[in-house]
Symmetry: C2
Subunit: 309 residues, 2 copies
């Protein structure tokens, strides 16, 4: 097994956004802010704080603006939000958060239709509008995220050729509009990836776009989250989204400790023990996970929150 | 990343033993038997049912003989127990379980002293007595297990040269007594392994003993359990111990969903999706995990028990 491990991995902490959007809407704004402020002290450089979405559909995010404006910002840390449409984007731009432009594409058109009611062509048109907005407002482009890159429950596995076509369509659009995409994030939206699939897709994307930085957004839905990370790391992938505590689990009956993002502190532990730096203080990140558990009021999937470092 | 994946992986189910020895001693014998009988229907070929240990120290195993004699045996499945001393071995031999001779060695002498009150030399003498007993009673040798092969909390990481010396001492003893060790199990007893450590140790052992079959006994203490499995699989390791539901977690305050063995059904899912056969019916194994949760009365670390297949 040839390992081309990166020396340093950039971790994009998504716990506040992934977590609070599915947890009880009764969690006080002050607790959300307290959690984000604690994350700021861990050394992590990117914190995704909120999503600007319809509060009727996602009541836990109704206080997005209030959270954004109450954060005690630490220098060198970017605080961002996400959006799923033009309205959300405009709310984000008006907020006090940092703006990193994101482009979105679905590998599975069926999933895209069900999730956002847009087909491939409509999604592409939306990306054009996003790009125009970013240009007009001087927002730097951060990444293109490929949702359902490892398949979905409607279409099963998606052919790599199809995934690459979808990526190419957005890269071409951006290029035509004079913008370069600095990072491509392959998202295992519904948690179907296994290591061999990660190796195949990352390999294929890198073969076609050797200079494009690749990131992985993985869920630990079926337990292979960190094994999938290892597959990415072995190919030198150096950008990962993760969630402190493993926040973001699905609200299944009785026990929510499953199906969230890969857990930041467990991933950081594995990286550090393999000699990969993250810039994160592991002890502090574990304390954040414990704080998150107290805030949400139930156990989270984190292993290190139980065992300690 | 070169993957030398095996085509078929032998899974040694240890859930009943790993789980019930740390769970409440009030679990009825009939429930333990029901769980083992359900496992018999999954296609798994090896079930470790009980440990023959001091009932005062491990009250959950006080009914070991009763469990053993009540199992509804399925043809082609081996039902075994473990022991930690001569007395336990004799109980096992008198029981109705199948006997597979095991030899034991500690990579960490400090851990061995604390855990079993024997130093290297005393451990080796005990292995000699075991080997004599196996010979006298016609018990075939199954494996040599190396405990704390990936380090311990007292000594930290253990030098690979030391691990290999310890293995060599038992292999030499067995060879002098005319017995061949068919399988070597490297155990991450306290859950400190990471994938690079697995690659290094498995690689070193294989270099020295190319014909010795290697198995891995891994815990998911810090979340990298399946990543460690992937490292082993990538080198062709085809024998893994695991526990249905991830049974075996440490009894930490409030929530036990951590630190158990790697979870059988999550591992089987990963194997199957990577094209590796296990002979196990994944749906039935997930049902067993749910049965285990009902029996122990609290959630287990299994992801698939939450999400389904």
């Amino acid at each position: 097994m040839n390992l081309d491990l990166p020396r340093f991995v950039d971790i994009f902490e998504e716990g506040p956004r992934e977590g609070f959007q599915i947890e009880s809407p009764d969690i006080p704004t002050a607790d959300k802010v307290r959690f984000i402020d604690a994350l700021s002290e861990t050394g992590v450089k990117h914190i995704q704080c909120v999503s600007f979405v319809n509060p009727k559909r996602v009541p836990g995010m109704a206080d997005a603006e209030a959270v954004a404006s109450a954060i005690a910002r630490t220098e060198g840390v970017s605080y961002t939000g996400i959006w799923l449409n033009q309205q959300g984007l405009e709310r984000a731009a008006r907020s006090t958060l940092d703006m990193g432009g994101e482009l979105q594409v679905y590998a599975s058109q069926t999933f895209g239709l069900k999730n956002s009611n847009r087909d491939d062509q409509q999604m592409l048109e939306e990306q054009r509008r996003y790009l125009n907005f970013y240009k007009e407002h001087g927002i730097p482009l951060d990444s293109l995220i490929v949702m359902t890159a490892f398949g979905c429950h409607y279409e099963g596995e998606i052919a790599i050729s199809r995934v690459c076509e979808q990526i190419a369509s957005v890269l071409t659009l951006a290029s035509e509009m004079g913008v370069q995409v600095p990072r491509l994030r392959l998202a295992d939206t519904v948690g179907l990836a296994v290591p061999t699939a990660v190796l195949r897709l990352v390999g294929a994307v890198r073969d076609r776009w050797p200079d494009l930085r690749i990131g992985l957004h993985l869920h630990d839905t079926r337990g292979s989250g960190l094994a999938n990370c290892l597959a990415g790391l072995s190919l030198g992938v150096d950008s990962f989204d993760s969630a402190c505590g493993g926040l973001g689990g699905c609200p299944f009956a009785g026990h929510r400790s499953a199906a969230g993002n890969i857990c930041t502190e467990d991933f950081v532990f594995m990286c550090h023990e393999m000699g990969i730096e993250t810039g994160i203080d592991l002890h502090k990140m574990v304390e954040c996970a414990r704080l998150a558990e107290r805030i949400v009021g139930h156990p989270l999937p984190s292993k290190l929150a139980r065992t300690g470092v």
